[in-house]
Amino acid sequence: MNRVRITPTRWPRVYTFWTMCLLALLPIVAGGAGLAGGARAQAPPESGTDPGMIKGPADAPVTIVEFSDYQ
């Protein structure tokens, strides 16, 4: 049987290959986690609205955010 033997001289090369793969994947994984986190942390749509453009009490159980144009 042909066995691949990892000789002491091959170790560094194998190690380097998988390390490079992991390093290459790291930004993708981290980026995905960042997007997911960003979506979770997205501010409610009413945030940042000029108070003059809001009607009704802040503690109302229902908030209607209306996106509209005048024309």
């Binding site: 749509p45 229902v62 024309q71």
Partner: protein, 131 residues
């Protein structure tokens, strides 16, 4: 709003569509009116006066709703609220809102000018869930 007094809060966001050339100046004008303390009367006036939103119209509506002509005209000319309107447009894009009117009722999308009964049904449902 009167029907649901104290139980509903309305947040208005500007989404002037690119196909409506005069919608953006109208939105900016409404914010100028707001800065002078008359946002909702002016807002209602704009909806009642669609689609006449040339500059002179916007100034005339301001005067007719009790706003001082000079500071309103200056605010409009300086486009003081252009970036604020743009921020709403960007937020709409981020939320996937593409058409007007779009309502988010406790976060639930409700698209288009629908019959009042449909609104009542969604609001009543949201009130039940919130209880």
């Amino acid at each position: 709003m009167n029907e649901y007094d104290g139980r509903v809060r309305l947040v208005f966001k500007d989404l002037p569509l690119p196909s409506h050339a005069l919608a953006r100046p109208a939105a900016e004008a409404a914010r100028c009116a707001g800065a002078l303390g008359r946002y909702w009367p002016y807002h209602d006036r704009l909806f009642a006066s669609q689609p006449a939103f040339e500059r002179d119209d916007l100034i005339r509506y301001a005067v007719e709703t009790g706003l001082p002509r000079e500071p309103f005209s200056r605010c409009l000319a300086e486009r003081r609220f252009a970036s604020a309107v743009e921020a709403d447009v960007a937020q709409a894009g981020a939320l996937g809102v593409r058409s007007t009117p779009t309502f988010l009722i406790n976060g639930r999308p409700f698209v288009g000018a629908q019959p009042i009964e449909n609104f009542r049904a969604v609001i009543d449902d949201a009130l039940r869930v919130a209880r």
